[in-house]
């Protein structure tokens, strides 16, 4: 298990700098401030007759967003936090992971690492693990904020676990994308740029594809694409509320955030999954793909490099 040497080295290097502790402290302050700020905003904008603790569905009649927010303030607060944390992960994970291999190339240490005889997949796995652990450490700074939001009630244990699992899956995928780009990029800046581009595609690209598809009467065909979008999937986790919020949207776009709108998997009737399940499966597969591709990319003598198409993709590696 020599990949563990990379994890411990990476964490030793990262945690010995003052900057890490400054960032961690700032994150705690930011997320705690976010909860307090959001709560203040909710209280200020919602009629005071709505109970503060716990949740209750809005009464009959037409649904308004402010009414829903007032009724489910604990849930909205919690998922607003999760949404922001996902955004923070989308910023931090690629930045951390994109340095992992290209940074070593820039420092002139990557050849030394490769010449140890450590298998490329172990190097890549070690780099990914170190990035994931570090990003999770940063993400843990949001726990006090989540705890405060949790106290307002309305979020079930299953929703809590699902949110946590989705966040961890996103950390893994974003980090794998970062490591992959790092294995291709000559510099960390270029690698980070590629990684942010891919994550932007996951966020905005999938949304754009879905909206265009839905506007052209092909909503059902393009709905599975939404499973790639971590923010959309996160919105769909609190099913009862997301289905009510979806009523605000035009009819053809409602499945966008409606957690109860399960989907036939790419048109296969009978294979119906909640969006989060499809997201998790896709994220695991994509993470594995990016890991495998990174292993080929970092090793100039990898067997697959004998193939012309691989050399065309990754260069000669010499």
């Amino acid at each position: 298990m020599t990949w563990t040497s990379i994890v411990s080295k990476e964490l030793t290097s990262r945690l010995q700098g003052r900057l890490t502790y400054v960032i961690l402290t700032l994150m705690v302050v930011a997320f705690t401030g976010l909860v307090l700020g959001s709560f203040w905003a909710i209280v200020a904008s919602v009629p005071t007759i709505v109970p503060v603790i716990g949740s209750s569905a809005a009464g009959g009649g037409s649904i308004s967003l402010s009414g829903l927010v007032g009724a489910y303030r604990g849930v909205f607060l919690f998922f607003a936090m999760a949404f922001c944390l996902m955004a923070a992960i989308g910023v931090v994970a690629p930045a951390v992971a994109a340095v992992s291999i290209s940074g070593e190339r820039e420092e002139g240490t990557f050849d030394l690492l490769l010449s140890t005889g450590l298998a490329p997949r172990s190097i890549v796995w070690g780099k990914l693990s170190a990035s994931v652990v570090f990003v999770l450490l940063v993400a843990l700074t949001a726990v006090p904020g989540f705890a405060m939001a949790w106290m307002f009630g309305g979020v079930g244990v299953i929703e809590l676990v699902l949110t946590a699992v989705l966040l961890v899956a996103a950390v893994c995928l974003f980090s794998a994308i970062g490591v992959f780009c790092s294995s291709l990029g000559r510099t960390s800046a270029v690698a980070a740029l590629y990684a942010y581009g891919l994550i932007f595609l996951l966020g905005m690209g999938t949304l754009a594809v879905y909206v265009v598809g839905a506007a052209n009467q092909m909503e059902g065909t393009f709905r599975p694409v939404l499973a790639l979008n971590p923010w959309v999937t996160l919105f769909a986790v609190p099913e009862q509320i997301s289905s009510q919020v979806a009523q605000i949207l035009p009819f053809q776009f409602r499945p966008l955030i409606d957690g109860t709108a399960q989907q036939d998997l790419f048109g296969l009737r009978g294979l119906r999954y909640p969006r989060w399940a499809l997201t998790l499966v896709l994220y695991v597969l994509l993470t594995a793909f990016f890991l495998a591709a990174s292993s080929v990319a970092v090793d100039p003598c990898h067997r697959l490099r004998e193939q012309r198409w691989v050399r065309a993709l990754f260069g000669r590696g010499s």
């Binding site: 420092e107 050849d111 010449s115 140890t116 005889g117 003598c301 004998e306 010499s318």
Partner: protein, 314 residues
Amino acid sequence: MALIELEQLSVDQHGHKALDGVTLSVAEGASLGLVGPNGSGKSTLLRALAGLVRPAAGRVLVDGYDIRHDVTAVRRRVGYVPEQFGVYPRLTIAQYLDFFAQASGVSAWERKNTVDTMLRVVDLYDSRQKEAASLSRGSRRRLALARALLHNPPVLLLDDPLGGLDGRGRLELVEVLKEVRGMGITLLVATHLLADLAQICESVAVLRDGRLISLLPLTAALAGDGPARRRVQLEAVGEREQLAALLIQQPGVMDVNDQGLAISFVYEGDREGLALVLGQLVTAGARVSRFGPGPDGLDEISAALAEGVGRLSA
């Protein structure tokens, strides 16, 4: 038995052939110097042996393992010290070596011992708690050497190990390399200065434009048997200006340089011709007290080798 075998090795880099059909065999325990000018393919040859570049054609075998089929096994049998390398910031020397020992597969129970032994071999034991990034150039080279030896490889590849070091740094590293050679490790040392190899290697491979020009024992290269260019230094009692004027008239003599206490010149020709030059000086009345290789004489030979001036034979 050959520990390293290269058969018609070619490597393409940036659209040109960095190595072109190199065939070479190095016996177990041998020490071979690779000389040649910049861009001749010395570093690429070492990187190919370390499994860091993919051959475009030909075979690379290290200890029987083919780089195309089992590159990890090749890497485990090779210790590689590149010309330019970095150290991880914020890691101490001991942490740095411990990391590489672990990555190289040195077992947990023998890791501390191995690291301590290597630190003593390269004389860095007392500095082991210092940050690796704070080391001087010479100490960094010794640290790199220790790192390359951690997993006890049978082959050690050194790319310009003495480049950029001051006199003391060179002396210290040469002593360590002599010790390493005594351990029976097969050494390949790339340099553009033959002088660097004088105390480390037994034979020399000359590369130019990615091709192997010649392979000869170091003693033959240093003796300059056959026509060659070398720097010679002489000391004489009396008028040096007249002596310098006399020297410049001799066939094969060029670049006469009065250095104060001594006169140095470059001579291109064989040893017989050089003996005749000395005879001419003595006949002309010069009182020569010393006549021998100049301080940078070996560099002149290596430059001649690299430029293809003359021929050196065993």
